[in-house]
């Protein structure tokens, strides 16, 4: 019920506001074996509240594009803005939370203290830190686990804790690079479902890298299909699925059609090399 109203609000205020705009983006890595074109002529607009998945074969530049958004890499050509600013400025404004494939929790910190890490760095007050830890633990369904240490948690719980850490400060963009890549199918399904709920509740814009077609289709409002050498976008699919998605939506014809189009896009990308 609650979820539904926020989703509505989400739709009304969000739909047209561009959060990320990439124009003719190029990125060349100089390497010992000569330059590697990781991104070529990438044009993409991500709107507020979008859930955008990046899918494509290994080496097509998914991670690189995410890192460009996060100002961890800098493009060698073209332009990109995040919230109307350069990625570097956006970072100073705490525009995004980043979730890596490995949870990367500090073993010497409890879960709560791990979540406090960005808050300490950003100078939140003690009471604010405690409040936010409570909130995000709730969001990722880890309430009560704050005092535990990472090794006391399963892989899936650790990854949820790392998502909580990325949610703790008010970044409105969440960038996730194969966050569930190392987890088994069942845990993954569960986390996907949770992630959708979390997205609906928090009004975040999410960039999500995956190798799984069903995962991409199930989660996204927009699916970006990429192909390698040079890394480029070959198709952008706007999902027609409703925002509210029970797991069994994956058996619907609509879902299968979108998945089919993604598969075609991936195949086309492969055909020309």
């Amino acid at each position: 019920m609650n979820t539904q109203t926020t989703t509505q609000a989400h739709l009304e205020q969000g739909a047209t506001e561009a959060v990320v705009e990439a124009k003719n983006l190029d990125l060349v890595f100089p390497t010992n074996d000569g330059p590697v074109q990781a991104l070529k002529d990438v044009n993409l607009t991500i709107n507020k509240g979008d859930f955008v998945s990046f899918i494509g074969p290994s080496g097509c530049g998914k991670t690189t594009f995410l890192r460009v958004m996060a100002a961890l890499e800098h493009p060698t050509g073209g332009s990109i803005t995040v919230n109307g600013m350069s990625p570097d400025e956006a970072r100073k404004n705490r525009a995004y939370g980043y979730v890596f494939q490995a949870a990367g929790l500090y073993p010497w910190r409890s879960i709560a203290k791990n979540i406090k890490l960005p808050l300490e760095i950003m100078g939140y007050s003690k009471s604010e830190q405690d409040k936010r830890v409570e909130q995000v633990l709730e969001l990722v369904e880890l309430a009560g686990f704050g005092g535990k240490y990472p090794w006391q948690l399963s892989g899936g719980m650790q990854q949820r804790a790392s998502i909580a850490r990325a949610l703790a400060f008010d970044a409105d963009i969440l960038l996730m690079d194969e966050p569930f890549g190392a987890l088994d199918e069942i845990v993954r399904d569960h986390l996907n479902e949770q992630l959708l709920k979390l997205w609906a509740r928090t009004n975040k814009t999410i960039g999500f890298v995956t190798h799984s077609i069903p995962e991409a289709v199930y989660l996204s409002t927009k699916i970006v299909v990429m192909s390698p050498r040079p890394g480029r976008i070959t198709d952008v699919i706007e999902s027609t699925l409703p925002r509210e998605r029970p797991l069994d939506i994956r058996d619907s014809q609509e879902f299968i059609d979108i998945a089919h189009r993604v598969r075609e896009g991936l195949r086309a990308g492969h055909a020309d090399d």
Binding site: R67, A70, L72, R91, K92, R94, Y96, G97, Y98, F100, A102, G104, Y106, P107, W108, L117, P118, E120, I121, M122, Y149, P150, W151, F169
Partner: protein, 305 residues
Amino acid sequence: MKTFLSVLTVLAAIVAFWYAACVPMNIKGVLDAAERAGVEVSPATSKERRDLGSFGLVVNNSFAIPETFAQDRPRLPAPHQVITELWKTTVMKKVTSKRSLVYHAQVTLNATLLGFVIGTGLGILLAVGIVHSKVMDMSVMPWAIVSQTIPIIALAPMIIVVLYSVGVQGILPKAIISAYLSFFPVVVGMVKGLRSPDAMQLDLLKTYGANTNQGFWKLRLPSSMPYLFASLKIGIAASLLGAIVGELPTGAVAGLGARLLAGSYYGQTVQIWSALFAAAILAGLLVALLDLIERGVLKRMGMAS
């Protein structure tokens, strides 16, 4: 239990070998003494005996074997002689006595610990500098390496003479030699430790807009702890060695080094060996203590291996 038995077996083998070695090492001295006391030995004169090998002497004079474990100043003291001496000079002596090994060990220990603290502090500071500054990395590291290639036995007298000429003496010169030996493993270990966080960890901090300082205290320093402890264990042993070497050129009257020196002046081999063992035991205790602290700390930090 099985490992315990194996360890015991190895230990027994070493002791047996040691006893066996005492016989040929000491036989000549024993026979010389016997000859002086009027006992008949073969060959009869010292000169003839010198031409015969030690093993030949043992074969000809097997009656003298027990005596090779009981000399006053043997070339190689037998294990029980060393242990007896250790016992007499530790448990049986008041610790304030100049003849107590505990007293001497404590003198050396003070210099060791002071040197260890100085060396560790210096090592950590240098490592921090090296990790954060390319210039320091390229200018300090080569010198640190060169410093360790100079034999300390050659350098120690110079350090002591130089410090003496500026009026520094007592515990400090020894501690400085200790520090000189112990800072190096700490530098090497800490540089590696502070650089141990992987690219992902560093990127994560970057996305939070963390500065160098925060990166150091929140990530680099805690990550380096296992490396630090490994270095400290090498460092403390090196410190002890430094303190002992520092006692040799001054003709110090107190300390394990002084005992070694005095022992060798007067041919008191039993005393030399017991001082050596005292040093080894002390080093073992210090390393074990660090090991204990390491376990506690790393366990609390969730980094126990």
